[in-house]
Amino acid sequence: MDKDSEITKNNELLLRIDKSIYEKSAILKTCYLFQDKFHTNIKQLSDSTYGIFLKRKNDKLEFGDLAKNFFNELIDQQIRLENERMFGDLRREIVKQAFKPIHYNEIKSKFEDKSS
Amino acid sequence: MKSLTGEPNNFDSVLVGRISNKQVKSKERKNTIFIISNLNEDIRGYKAIITSVKVGKKIPSSFLKIPFIHSVKDFESLFNGDLVLLEMHSGTITIMFEKNSTHNSIFATSRCNSKCIMCPQPSKKDPPKSERINLELVKLIDKSTHAIGITGGEPTLGRNNLIRLLKECNKNMPQAQIQLLTNGILLKNMDYVEEIVNIGIDNLIFCIPIYADTDLEHDFIMQRKNSFQDTIQGLYNLEAFEQSIELRVVVFSHNFKRLPQIADFFYHNFPFVMHIAFMGIELEGLAKENRKKLWISPLDYIAFLEKAVLYLSQRDMEVSIYNEQLCLLPKSLWAFSCKSISDWKNIYIEECNSCKMRENCGGFFKSVISEHRKLINKKNCK
């Protein structure tokens, strides 16, 4: 079995992501977040696995807990995707209601009555 | 309301009038109820007479044409300027409006559309002609009155009655503050709110109870489904018309643990209200029957109450505590305590006689005396 993370010959951190658990969108969003300190590259390693290559922008930076942090964030991004499917419509409904004029028809008809 | 009894004469009616213990000008007499302690007084033109004296079989001739109630005990509790309701068939004298009190209320109706589990004034049918009586009462109220409450039952039931009553109040006491105690449920209809607002009362406050920060809990306490939703809709409608609102929370066993969350809920959802009042429970009516289930000792809820009150005060919301004795409140809450119990319900116990703060303290409801006495004895009276 492949390890989930390893340091490559090019001094990049390689993370193996199971395609069946994480959607591409979640993976891309997670990569985006880490672009403050790392260059990111994604390759398909096999039918079931994506490989994320993280290259340090600054050589003095340590990899440290990067793998752990990346996977944690990936889980949260996946949760967010599923949340969007669950209540995205409700969210839009709330904003729509927020900007809907209140009792517009009643106000409108009152205004029209007064002007006639 | 306080009431007295006596022996009525044969007139069969219900009357409203203003008490006077001395003679008044003839044009005022038709609305005045003269209270006398000797039967030789000139009683011509008065609406009715009340006397402590016993009138025997021989009725003085002047008394034949005028409604009167005799042999009245507690004669001394009738003050000049009080407004009373005389029920001639039973000889009951009910003091509807006390001249010397700042806590007078008009009962718009006894009916209610909810059945709160701690209701001190459970719903019942209205006596006949109650609307006419209320309107007469309002006409007699002193124009210089500072404040009057409109309560019930649920005043918003009988929409036309309420509108008429409010219009009459506005006409006769344009400077008074009118406090409308309502559960706000029927105010979910925007046009009802609009109709009230259009009366044009300068100083009108809607006093609305909310007992919980979540729907099922509030609905259970109200014993009415969707009351939480309806009341909130009513609140937003009132706010749309920029009306003054006071939220009231009765503190008892069902909600005391969530007082801080209730305060938080009010702040985030109704930041526009003018005032928030936390009230001790009155163990009358339904509350009396269920006292074991409803009663929670102030010693147990004080910590939650303190958190809730200070939370709101921190956020610059106006907040008060009604119906709570100063000796049971921590000093941090003294500034929020209000003398608020209607005078007819309010007493002090003997231990209070030595208390320095008695003047400033709200005292007790009669109905909670026994519970409170146990607590007061445990603490040091200051």
């Binding site: 985006y32 | 406050i205 003294w334």
Partner: protein
């Protein structure tokens, strides 16, 4: 067999804080829950009688049978939060002149030689600008005089004030004036005019003498501390201390000593400070090496200074930090806070407009700086050439605004801080090449994110004393008022 969910989860955003999770609902109400409770909540395993569940319900994060009510309440609260949008442009900045009598090392405003009068706004343009100001539907109008040094064009300042007040007789708006000045040219005549017309003064004080004079210098290199302080005093005495405010710019010269800057502000009679960061424009960009710092360092120092200020408040003296106060208001209150530099959609144009000395209208001062450097991307029009509608309802402004809604920006769209934060498309464009920018490497993002996170850490600790300080800032009351230490008279209230 289908399982029916025991409750409905309402829209939320989340962020992890050690052993807890911050949940924020669609209207910006928040709650911290334990990690274990968060997992149960997500998986529909919370017991509906549990206290946590009731707390989430109260915060409109879950609901049982009633969906209509929480949606209605959330919509109402959302509308309240965004009500800063209702009134359109309230802040109108007049660049009276590009001339300046100082030559600050970090200047981004543009400071031409004092004698180059062609850089002044003339009366005909000023008049047209005021006409356009009053076309704004906002019932509150704030006219802010900037420059260069606005007092150098005092004649036009006077004209604008008089003409605006005359127009306002018809419009009856809540009209306010501010002059952003270094106070060097504060003659008695000018001071008298400012007092008579109730014009607020906003000046710059970077710290005690050695800090202030490190960067805020005259063209000949001399410091300005002495004269600035003398004139601050004169202004405070004449117009009242509450009408004189000071701002500072954080540079390498002072960011290790922010506490000393606070001490200086208190000593000189100010009751608030704003730790503004350097913007990479103008001279500041050229002097980056000597003046600049990285954001993480800045935030470390900011946190220290904030602690220091909190301690000062706890000892009884009211003193607030403005940025923290604004963010705390957004987090802790249900109200809308208008702050054009950090809002969504951005305040560019729709909250604030800049009228430069030649009549060009820009969405922000940075937009004007870009124009000076040759890029007219953010010029939305000119008062001599375009109608009000062309300027404020034109394609340029709409494009800028639609790129500034955090609800739709990458990384922002999922962020738990969304309701408390904002976007700066002009800054993104300048620093990173596009209106949307690249969030992970954005200094604007980093600064706001780190400070908001720090404030949430403090809120999470729930120290009652610190919370009292925060509320004293938000409600603008002293700690004693917050704690009700003076027990108010226990009189019977007339309304009860």
């Amino acid at each position: 067999m289908r399982t029916i969910k025991p409750y409905t989860i309402l829209p939320y955003r989340f962020m992890r804080f050690k052993d807890e999770v911050l949940l924020v609902n669609e209207a910006g109400d928040f709650i911290f829950v334990k990690n274990t409770d968060f997992d149960k909540f997500r998986k529909f395993e919370l017991r509906t009688q549990a206290e946590t569940f009731l707390n989430l319900k109260s915060k409109h994060l879950v609901t049982e049978s009633n969906l209509a009510l929480p949606v209605y309440q959330l919509a109402t609260k959302y509308r309240t939060k965004k009500s800063f949008l209702n009134d359109f442009t309230a802040l109108h900045i007049f660049i009276l002149t590009l001339r300046c009598n100082q030559k600050c090392r970090y200047c981004q405003a543009g400071s031409e030689n004092e004698t180059c009068y062609e850089h002044d706004m003339d009366i005909s343009i000023a008049k047209k600008c005021v006409d356009y100001v009053f076309k704004s539907p906002s019932p509150v109008i704030k006219i802010e005089f900037q420059g260069g040094e606005p007092l150098l064009n005092f004649e036009v300042l006077k004209f604008v004030v008089k003409y605006a007040k005359a127009l306002n007789k018809k419009h009856k708006k809540d009209l306010e004036f501010v002059v952003c000045t270094n106070l060097i040219a504060l003659s008695d005549k000018i001071l008298k005019f400012l007092k008579k017309n109730k014009i607020l003064i906003s000046t710059s004080l970077d710290g005690p003498r050695n800090i202030h004079d490190a960067n805020r210098i005259l063209p000949n290199g001399e410091g300005t501390y002495e004269i600035v302080l003398k004139n601050i005093k004169r202004a405070q005495v004449t117009t009242g201390a509450q009408n004189v405010a000071a701002l500072m710019v954080t540079t390498k010269s002072n960011f290790h000593n922010l506490e000393k800057v606070v001490d200086e502000y208190i000593a000189k009679g100010f009751d608030s400070i704003f730790f503004r960061t350097l913007h990479p424009f103008g001279r500041a960009a050229r002097e980056r090496n000597t003046l600049g710092y990285d954001i993480e360092e800045f935030v470390r120092n900011y946190k220290k200074a904030l602690n220091y200020i909190i301690e000062i408040n706890l000892s009884g003296k009211y003193f607030s930090e403005i940025y923290a106060t604004i963010v705390l208001s957004r987090i802790l209150t249900p109200f809308s806070t208008g702050f054009v530099d950090l809002q969504s959609p951005a305040g560019t144009g729709i909250g604030c407009a800049v009228y430069s000395q030649n009549g060009d209208v820009f969405v922000s001062d940075e937009a004007r700086m870009l124009a000076k450097m040759g890029d007219l991307r953010f010029r939305i029009g000119n008062v001599k050439e375009n109608t009000y509608k062309e300027i404020f309802d034109g394609k340029t402004l709409r494009e800028i605004i639609s790129s500034s809604c955090v609800e739709t920006l990458p990384q922002c769209s999922e962020c738990a801080f969304q309701m408390y934060c904002g976007a700066d498309p002009v800054r993104n464009y300048y620093a990173q090449g596009s209106l949307i920018g690249h969030k992970p490497t954005s200094e604007f993002h980093e600064r706001n994110y780190l400070i908001i996170k720090h404030l949430f850490e403090l809120i999470r600790q729930d120290d009652p004393e610190i919370m009292n300080v925060f509320w004293s800032w938000i409600t603008n009351r002293s700690i004693y008022d917050i704690k009700r230490i003076n027990i108010r008279e226990l009189n019977e209230k007339p309304n009860r």
